[in-house]
């Protein structure tokens, strides 16, 4: 047991202004409680956040780099999803 390494945790912090929790990095800790304690010291020394999430890294499933094409290329030719695709005459005013 003495040689067992502590598991890795991914740390998410929500800043002061009501935005989403954002991934800020990772750290090792023996359990979730210690992960939160450590995250407070490592990632919020300068009031970076008001809330901390910790997730075991092993619980995260990530898309594979080789899937980049099939996953993200289809969005490329759909410019009509953006408001700037549409010309609105000046007379109409702000929309």
């Amino acid at each position: 047991m003495s040689k067992k390494e502590w598991p890795l945790w991914e740390i998410f912090i929500r800043g002061q202004h009501g935005l989403n929790h954002r991934h800020v990095g990772s750290l090792h800790a023996p359990d979730a409680e210690m992960a939160i304690n450590n995250a407070r010291d490592v990632y919020t020394r300068r009031k970076e956040g008001v809330s901390i999430w910790v997730v075991p890294s092993s619980a995260i499933t990530a898309s594979s780099p080789s899937e980049k094409g099939p996953l993200f290329d289809p969005a490329e030719d759909k410019v009509y999803r953006h408001p700037t695709f549409y010309d609105i005459p000046d007379e109409v005013g702000h929309m």
Binding site: M1, G25, S26
Partner: protein, 325 residues
């Protein structure tokens, strides 16, 4: 620098794959952990980021030496916060390094066995309070020279760690300069102490950038991979140009009789540090090598029972949770 003389590892990878990889770097793309990378790139980065992380951790020791003896409560709080930042920087970098397929404990073991290095600068003693000023001003100043360009390095996790570190590093340099200002404007004895600290830390700070590497194959490869952005001489010159006027403002003298402004190159001419001394320190023969590594090993060994206790508690809680479900 915090990572000195990083030898690049060669790669036996498929030439086609290597060319595509280089093209990605040339286009300014970031390389991310799960993506293909040449074995040499991976190994070189482990060495570089690991050495950088070790430097942050060992770098706590010379300053930790003065926390209990800081002249005022405010200075003590500031120094404590600075040293805590260094621990944080080490942790960001270890995490980045682990994404390359090495474990935290492996990295610690390599530091403790001497298989991996840390920056030569931390093998010098901190004899007086003025050394806290000189370290913040000069050592952190030199680190910033290197770390700011590294925010654009090709490896994503390393670049992101550098962004975080650079945000905090400016505080370190300014608190150091503030100590120097206070002492330089103090009694003649205090000013002399500040001058003495500058005398002792000037050349070791210049050594931090490493010997001239304009001709080095390792440096050429590492620059092509964008894990090194500037040559050692470029960074050293930049450091001298910025630091000399700051010393003048303090009314202190840079200990170099050949220091002169050179109008043609718009920079200072200055003396090289003693590179024999540098190599001796790197080999383990500096004034404090044994003390620093000894302190690291002791901290690791003394903490063993505590780490085990936390693990045992975590296991017990997990078993209880499973039983309750």
């Amino acid at each position: 620098m915090y990572a000195q003389m990083i030898k690049s590892e060669s790669s036996n990878d498929d030439p086609q794959a290597l060319a595509e990889f280089q093209a990605r770097i040339d286009r300014g793309e970031r390389i991310e952990p799960k993506e293909w990378m040449p074995e040499g790139y991976r190994k070189t980065l482990i060495r570089q980021i690991g050495q950088h992380a070790h430097s942050e951790i060992v770098g706590q020791l010379p300053e930790g030496n003065w926390i209990t003896r800081a002249p005022t409560l405010e200075r003590k709080q500031i120094l404590l916060a600075k040293v805590q930042d260094e621990a944080g920087h080490g942790l960001y970098l270890y995490s980045a390094c682990e994404t390359l397929g090495v474990t935290r404990d492996e990295l610690f073991e390599k530091l403790h066995s001497g298989a991996m290095k840390y920056s030569s600068i931390f093998n010098y003693p901190t004899l007086t309070w003025a050394d806290m000023g000189a370290i913040g001003w000069l050592v952190d100043g030199a680190a910033i020279m290197n770390q700011v360009p590294l925010q654009r390095t090709s490896y994503g996790p390393y670049a992101r760690a550098m962004v975080r570190i650079c945000k905090e590093e400016s505080f370190h340099q300014r608190q150091g300069y503030s100590i120097m200002m206070k002492m330089a404007q103090g009694t003649p004895a205090q000013k002399e102490m500040a001058q003495d600290a500058l005398n002792r830390f000037w050349y070791p700070s210049l050594m931090m950038f490493g010997p001239s590497d304009a001709e080095s194959v390792h440096s050429t490869q590492n620059m092509a991979w964008k894990i090194k952005i500037n040559t050692n001489d470029e960074l050293r010159q930049r450091f001298v140009n910025e630091t000399v006027p700051q010393a003048e403002y303090l009314g202190l003298t840079v200990p170099d009789e050949h220091l002169r402004w050179n109008d043609d190159k718009q920079g200072y001419d200055f003396s090289e540090p003693d590179w024999d001394e540098f190599f001796e320190v790197l080999k383990g023969n500096g004034p404090c090598n044994e003390e620093r590594l000894g302190a690291r090993r002791k901290a690791w060994d003394d903490g063993q029972w505590f780490r085990e206790g936390l693990s045992a508690y975590a296991d017990k809680q997990a078993t209880r949770r499973t039983a309750a479900e």
